[in-house]
């Protein structure tokens, strides 16, 4: 029996930075679970989601919100979704299985990603320098989500509206990703 007590740490230790009116903050109280749909099982999963979360599965590139566990369903790809929801005591996949049963293949992704929020009037200007997709609200409106590259780092970006964006990137390169964001914000201030 080991005497070691391991303490969970977030990738960036919950960092919070402010540059003028742009704020960057790591999100540490949310879990991520991916859902893959079994072949031909879209309707079954869709009904389970409506029943348990009172929301419909979003189209690819869109986000659907539920008041249950403050869950956000992200349409990542055909037949694949991410659920981002408030962390509680139980295992993340157990929590989803308790609500959706065996209607999909659920994989815990929480510790694979660093999750950050960037917000403020110049946040879009800063992101435009490192993001190859058009982030203007007429093209990428609130509740749009997609996976893309930022400075060669794979990134999921979700528009939360009002110049606020949620960013997910690989935990293993979280420090580099933060540096990219910091530099870009510094360059536009």
């Amino acid at each position: 029996m080991s005497d070691f007590m391991l303490k969970v740490r977030s990738p960036l230790d919950g960092i919070e930075l402010t540059y003028g009116d742009v704020a960057i903050r790591e999100i540490t109280d949310r879990d991520i679970v991916s859902i893959a749909i079994p072949l031909g099982g879209t309707e079954t999963l869709s009904k389970a989601v409506i029943s348990a979360y009172q929301t419909e599965l979003p189209a690819v590139g869109r986000c659907a919100k539920s008041h249950v566990d403050n869950a956000h369903f992200l349409g990542m790809a055909p037949d694949q979704y991410f659920i981002v929801f408030d962390r509680s005591g139980s295992e993340s996949t157990d929590k989803i299985t308790s609500k959706l049963g065996k209607t999909g293949y659920f994989t815990d992704q929480s510790d694979s990603w660093v999750m950050m929020r960037i917000g403020g009037p110049k946040s879009r200007t800063a992101l435009e320098r490192i993001c190859p997709i058009d982030l203007h609200p007429t093209v990428f409106p609130e509740e749009s989500v997609t996976r893309t590259l930022m400075e060669h780092l794979s990134t999921i970006i979700l528009s939360e509206g009002n110049d606020h964006y949620l960013l997910l990137s690989a935990r293993s390169s979280a420090g580099s990703f933060l540096q990219v964001l910091q530099k870009s914000v510094e360059n536009v201030l």
């Binding site: 189209a59 790809a77 055909p78 694949q80 093209v139 997609t146 893309t148 590259l149």
Partner: protein
């Protein structure tokens, strides 16, 4: 070069990986009596046109979908982009 993804809209080519001729979707039946000949043609024989070409691209840094892109090899002009899944289903694949 910009590829107009059918689900996600215009995306930079840096997000994609090129595979090759779209005929790679049509894998021969290994039980066919001429399977060896068909696999030889499938693996090694390509049209290599100077002009319109249908080819497979993978959206690796996006939604991980396979696309069939119709591109002019002389001008790089892209005239059509389809999900490879739809192309395969239309060609008679059952899943």
């Amino acid at each position: 070069m910009i590829i107009d993804h059918p689900l996600l809209g215009p995306r930079d080519v840096s997000e994609f990986v090129y595979l090759g001729d779209a005929s790679l979707i049509n894998r021969p039946d290994s039980q066919n009596e001429n399977a060896a000949k068909h696999f030889y043609e499938y693996l090694y024989l390509r049209e290599n046109p100077a002009g319109e070409h249908r080819e497979l691209w993978y959206h690796e840094h996006g939604d991980r979908s396979w696309l069939v892109v119709t591109r002019d090899t002389l001008t790089h002009k892209i005239t059509r982009v389809e999900l490879a899944r739809d192309t395969a289903l239309a060609a008679g694949r059952n899943k």
